[in-house]
């Protein structure tokens, strides 16, 4: 035993010694003199959230390509370093440390899940580097640090909007809520329910499910028995499609309402007839006639064969907002970039005009849409 211990401690030591070999030489860098600007992207390229991470990478790379074609930022080309976090908070935090330790990197975009963003937040905060998440909606995320920014908009804004849409726009009075049991789902459920009850409506049932669930029949049967006017689905589009299909199979005909996470072409292909008549809202709409939206949608579709969804568009916005902030700061100094980013007002993005609140959240504008004839259409009261 002893012999093994000693012998293999040496191996351990050797492997630790080998670590600096892949560290890359540490060099003093003056970013203002270099002719490129490095930006980092943390996204889940493998694992359960790979789908969203891949969309992040596609959009951000596309965005950088366009920016560089148009002359870059401060006359320099943007260069992207991509890190795969696997959706694992541990790895996301390690990546955060990797980015912040690298003096050439000026700011970071990512991660996808709020948990990953929250786990890496203390590092960005301590190392003083901008962490701009396209999708983190956790109510503690942006307020948690001066260096953290979110552009998806919190449920504190979207919840009341949807509650008003449901109560006043659609005349619904009793609603059953089904939500995914994660930070986003809980927030969505909470803000919607609070606002709906304040308007005078009744939340008749609330049920949650864990990520990865495929069978919602039990929950739906229970909710059906409460006979609500409508069903509110705080779910991603793929779960939303499953819930809708199973609802129809149960023979439950009811109005369905949900947040903007449902907005995806995939909802239509996965859900088919079952999602017909569903009400939701969008900040980004592929049918939006605005020139920049159409340009982005056509480019994305011609490259990847699918229409971009809300999350992809948010990642595209993130890189553009960041580029604009660097341009405005006039330098690649991390603190200057943060100051400039915080002052972003009325930035014309694909997902609507973006102005950061004092804590670093974005206030979004929402457009009511519904599904009719198998397509998302703008809903006019």
């Amino acid at each position: 035993m002893n012999r093994n211990v000693k012998g293999l401690v040496v191996l351990l030591a050797l492997s630790l010694l080998a670590m600096p070999l892949f560290a890359g030489g540490k060099q003093e860098v003056n970013n203002d003199e270099s002719d490129t600007i490095h930006i980092a992207l943390t996204a889940p390229l493998s694992g359960d959230y790979a789908e969203y991470g891949t969309n992040f990478q596609r959009s951000v790379e596309m965005g950088i390509e366009f920016i560089n074609k148009a002359g870059g930022v401060l006359g320099k080309d943007l260069v992207l370093s991509v890190g795969d976090s696997k959706g694992d908070p541990k790895e996301s935090a390690t990546l955060a440390q990797k980015w912040t330790s690298d003096p050439t990197i000026v700011a970071e975009i990512g991660d996808f899940t709020s948990t990953c963003c929250m786990a890496s937040q203390p590092i960005y905060d301590q190392s003083e580097m901008v962490q701009l998440s396209p999708t983190a909606s956790h109510s503690d995320f942006a307020p948690g640090s001066d260096w953290s920014f979110g552009i998806v908009g919190t449920q504190a804004g979207e919840g009341p909007f949807m509650a008003d849409f449901a109560y006043n726009g659609l005349g619904l009075r009793t609603i059953a809520v089904i939500n995914i049991n994660n930070d986003w789902g809980i927030d969505t459920q909470k803000y919607f329910s609070e606002a709906f009850e304040k308007l005078g409506g009744v939340i008749i049932a609330t049920e949650s499910y864990f990520d990865g669930e495929k069978d919602f029949t039990a929950i739906l049967t229970k909710m059906k028995a409460t006979k609500p006017d409508a069903l509110f689905m705080a779910a991603m589009y793929n779960d939303g499609a499953l819930i809708s299909k199973q609802r129809v199979k149960l023979g439950w005909d009811v109005v369905v309402v949900g947040p903007s996470s449902l907005y995806s072409e995939q909802l239509l292909t996965l859900g088919g007839d079952a999602v017909e008549g569903l009400y939701t809202n969008v900040s980004f709409f592929t049918e939006d006639p605005a020139e920049d939206v159409q340009f982005y949608v056509t480019e994305f579709e011609s490259r990847y064969g699918v229409k971009p969804n809300f999350h992809a568009a948010l990642a595209f916005d993130a890189i553009n907002i960041l580029a604009a902030a660097i341009e405005k700061a006039g330098t690649t100094d991390r603190t200057a970039i943060k100051e400039a980013l915080a002052k972003t007002t009325d930035f014309k993005a694909l997902t609507g005009s973006i102005t950061f609140t004092p804590v670093g959240d974005a206030v979004k504008q929402y457009t009511k849409v519904w599904i009719t004839d198998g397509k998302f259409k703008v809903y006019n009261d």
């Binding site: 035993m1 012999r3 093994n4 211990v5 000693k6 012998g7 293999l8 401690v9 040496v10 191996l11 351990l12 030591a13 492997s15 630790l16 010694l17 670590m19 600096p20 892949f22 560290a23 540490k26 390229l45 493998s46 694992g47 790979a50 891949t54 991509v82 890190g83 795969d84 696997k86 908070p89 541990k90 790895e91 935090a93 390690t94 440390q97 990797k98 912040t100 330790s101 690298d102 948990t115 929250m118 786990a119 937040q121 203390p122 190392s127 956790h138 109510s139 503690d140 948690g144 049991n181 994660n182 930070d183 789902g185 809980i186 864990f210």
Partner: protein, 336 residues
């Protein structure tokens, strides 16, 4: 090559020990970058986890798929006590270990009588139960929202917020845990267990209360996992239930198996390799995890005792080449 290193280490015991100790102490200087230092800190935390799981496997001959649950219990316990009650780290750390150890003892009492396949399911189910309780007990754990703002540990008024300091602290605990486990293995009970691991009836007939020792080993392993959880919680400063799921249990078990079950150094090697691997192969992007799966299969196929494990644990007739040729009949083996 490993044999030669062993031989060398054997001959120059003192020199090697001093060299290794010096190396471990100088790591913050050698690594330089906080990124690598962070990896080193995570390695130390996972060395505690894999070594403690190895203690359970070594003493009970069975493996638990609930280790991440005890790790999570420790993390939540320490985080909540320091945030809600305001207790200092030096008190929350042992409390985290004790809570995890107590729950471990109860789970051990209930499940350690199960046969192998059933124990796998039983511990797997328990791991999921812990995660679900954390997710649903929102008034205490904030459920899926997680716990942000966990303070840095403070020891005698000295705040450990610097990576170098944190490294020395987790290194200290990792070394203590490894040495304790080594001491246990080499104790009278430990030797009896290693000799009798494969033969429970034999151990029982020798007058050893096998079951009681198993429960003790299980509880102690869980205690260390709880300690690791506390160290982790105050390091990342944001914890949520999904950081302690089944995948984490699988990762810890993989470290033990890859490094070498039953040896002291095995889990350490496993933890180092599996924490360094993802960083080393980042350039592969989405192909990285494909390679990870492939490497796992290949190593386990060709070195089933683990990289630093010993062959001694295996039945004599184990023969790697048997995949390539028809298996000899029993009599042929005996004649040979």
């Amino acid at each position: 090559m490993i044999a030669e290193i062993k031989k060398f280490a054997e001959k120059n015991k003192l020199v090697v020990t001093i060299a290794v100790a010096a190396l471990l102490l100088l790591i913050p200087l050698i690594l330089g970058s906080p990124y690598l230092l962070r990896v080193a800190i995570m390695i130390c935390i996972f060395v505690i986890l894999s070594s403690s799981l190895n203690l359970i496997i070594g003493f009970t001959g069975m493996f638990s798929l609930a280790h991440a649950a005890f790790y999570g219990i420790g993390a939540y316990c320490s985080a909540l006590l320091s945030i809600k009650v305001g207790l200092p780290f030096l008190i929350t750390l042992p409390l985290a270990g004790i809570l995890a150890g107590l729950i471990g003892a109860i789970i051990g009492l209930a499940t350690l009588r199960l046969r192998e396949t059933f124990l796998v399911f039983g511990t797997l189910a328990f791991g999921e139960i812990v995660r679900i309780v954390i997710m649903n007990w929102t008034s205490l754990t904030r459920g899926p929202m997680g716990i942000p703002g966990i303070p840095f540990p403070k020891i005698f008024g000295f705040e450990i917020s610097n990576y170098t300091h944190y490294y020395y602290m987790v290194l200290f605990f990792a070394v203590i845990v490894v040495l304790l486990i080594r001491r246990l293995y080499n104790s009278r009970v430990g030797r009896a267990f290693i000799a009798l691991r494969e033969d429970e009836t034999g151990a029982a007939s020798m007058g050893v209360n096998v079951f009681a020792y198993k429960v003790w080993a299980f509880a102690l392993g869980c205690f260390f996992a709880g300690i690791a959880g506390a160290l982790y919680a105050h390091f990342v400063r944001y914890i949520s239930a999904d950081q302690f799921g089944v995948n984490e249990s699988f990762a810890i078990l993989t470290m033990v198996a890859l490094g070498g079950t039953g040896s002291i150094i095995g889990p350490i090697v496993g933890a180092v390799i599996l924490m360094v691997f993802p960083e080393l192969f980042r350039f592969l992007a989405e192909y990285r995890m494909v390679l990870y799966g492939l490497i796992l299969i290949v190593i386990m196929m060709f070195k089933p005792e683990g990289i630093a494990g010993f062959k001694g644990m295996f039945p004599r007739d184990f023969d790697m080449m048997s995949i390539f040729k028809r298996k000899k009949s029993k009599t042929e083996v005996e004649e040979a």
